[in-house]
Symmetry: none
Subunit: 406 residues, 2 copies
Amino acid sequence: RINGSRLWTSLMDLAQIGATDKGGVKRLALTDLDRQGRDLVVEWAREAGLKITVDKIGNVFMRREGTNPSLPPIVTGSHIDTQPTGGKFDGNYGVLAGLEVVRTLNDLHIKTEAPIEVAFWTNEEGSRFVPVMMGSGVFCGAFSLETAYAARDVDGKSVGEELARIGYQGEQTPGEHPIGAYFETHIEQGPVLEDEDKVIGVVPAVMGLSWYDCTVEGMEAHAGPTPMHLRRDALQVATAIMQETVAIANRYPPYGRGTVGMVQVFPNSRNVIPGRVKFSIDLRNVNDELLNTMHEEMTAFIQRTASETGLKIQLERVSYYPPCPFHPDCVGAVRKAAATLGYSTMDVVSGAGHDAIYVARLAPAGMIFVPCKDGISHNEIEDARPDHLEAGCNVLLHAMLERAGV
Amino acid sequence: RINGSRLWTSLMDLAQIGATDKGGVKRLALTDLDRQGRDLVVEWAREAGLKITVDKIGNVFMRREGTNPSLPPIVTGSHIDTQPTGGKFDGNYGVLAGLEVVRTLNDLHIKTEAPIEVAFWTNEEGSRFVPVMMGSGVFCGAFSLETAYAARDVDGKSVGEELARIGYQGEQTPGEHPIGAYFETHIEQGPVLEDEDKVIGVVPAVMGLSWYDCTVEGMEAHAGPTPMHLRRDALQVATAIMQETVAIANRYPPYGRGTVGMVQVFPNSRNVIPGRVKFSIDLRNVNDELLNTMHEEMTAFIQRTASETGLKIQLERVSYYPPCPFHPDCVGAVRKAAATLGYSTMDVVSGAGHDAIYVARLAPAGMIFVPCKDGISHNEIEDARPDHLEAGCNVLLHAMLERAGV
Ligand SMILES: NC(=O)NCCC(=O)O
Ligand SMILES: NC(=O)NCCC(=O)O
């Protein structure tokens, strides 16, 4: 069994870097704070005797050798970048649970056949740079290193520049790092486990996702003298699309999701009719056919709205991945470990994307969920119980040992 | 008749101060550029033989004596501060048209019975400091000198400090400056005159205005794992209110106006359900009863929405002034002058607020509109035709002479 209080202490220590007033963390990908967070985790890994490899997109692999040098490593991990108003557990838990597994193996002098590795993947959140899950996406070939390097934040800084600046542009070619099996522990980021009073979520699959940027162009004009019928109000058209985004998701329960999270209004002045509005659309479903239907309904609504209003509307898909069923062997290993340890479990479809879905393209993969308070994540008040985090880490230990061999 | 090319040259000269790359002007109230603009206008006034008075809020009166010392002056004016992305004509035209009237009277050696004065009012735009129309507002007692002095810009600098710094904190108590009648020429800032192909807008009234800040509080949560029915999506509720803002205005044609110009979404991240949305609402009507009905419909809609959704919605009124009908004598003088001069005219209700609405509380007042290109204002591409500006100035000359007596 792992050491729950050591795991908790590490989580709290890492959460100091980029800590916010409201108890959350703001540690955006490839910022100076991300560098500090990476440095701290790498320092801990070195203290635990692990060997560090960094690849060209900044993914970090921290290795504990096994007894059989011909076996590929059993890998666990997640990410340490956060949302702008993120919490202490999202991603960080998965990385530090992996580190705790290693520390426990060290304490107990357990030697595994296959090597054990703990990884953290670059820019999982996609808040500062799209695409989201960038590091694991490049690793599995979902998009190219060049595409990732060229991504820019709102200030125009690129991933390539920022990776070099913080010193995490490594030598290894992404993907040229063998993986025998991959496990990722994560807080659920939803309310289901808590609602059903279960400790461990066995994750059979992750929902597919389509992300869009939508821009509506109207005509800036003075809010007073411009009669209603002569306006080309970009915001009024944009808000109709925002309402439809939610309506589309509501037509495909229980796994349809529709969210507008980001809005920019130009020139954003009280007495000026908005001339341009740019916003994001996030559509999800666990069924790829239904996700495609949702995509088509969105496209059709926008075409209809453009032709009815005469305003120019641009809809660009900026990210897409299909639903991802996990490997039966890994899902089974998680289910078995939880049963052995006597934890209550249930199956939970993941609504959030995780690095595991990309790694699953190259190796058998599975995930372990633990409850988070009120299902809240991507929020500074994100919280989780130490005993739940400990339970998830114990399940990880047992699942990894089953795959690695002792 | 006035000298149109001299008027145009002065407009272009003044527009050099704070000129932007895109052909506009950025000369925010009480900045160094505002000081330079004020100094230039005062220098021109001195060259035209005018006597300068400055009051405590920095309003400047430039006086040409009349033959009858017992008569109060006939005043014209406007403002020379601009929007951050403002044009060359908004406000500046009204001040320089007044100067051109004086220059013309000088050229023709015309003596008026009542004195003639040209005024410019401090901080009409309200972009750097609220409330808007500050100088004329203090002048007529709409709010106190202390309130105005205490207003601060985003950098924390106050109106009192900045007025003193640029050397325009005068001696005279605002309002203790007699006005016999007031005329203000201005670009229309709307599309009506151009649409109807008329040269002169006779302004019977200015619409009343209510400005609000509205805040919707929901619950930030992850866009993937949070089922639709468990969300408290602040943006979905906010967009319903934004749609209703326009719907309310459309129920009260032709003078109902409803605009949402400014929106801030928190945390504004693509895969986070917005936890808080703050936005502005601008409602206008020329009929105060209808404006009040619009206010009540907005309030009722928000109460209903709050109770239906369970989200907290705050609506705060941050500005209000009632509709302002202008004095029949002044409106008549404008109409008569335009007819005498043979210009095509129509009545245009002003949708925008102007210093004239505050001055109208102390003296008979009226306004003269001229067309602006595509009705565009509060924009660097704001434009107006020299012949239209000349026509408006000729109407001003005749209307002022009628009221001043020759
Ligand atoms: N787990 C997580 O927050 N991933 C980011 C991508 C997503 O929005 O699902
Ligand atoms: N004329 C003008 O732009 N005034 C500012 C206040 C308003 O929005 O009407």
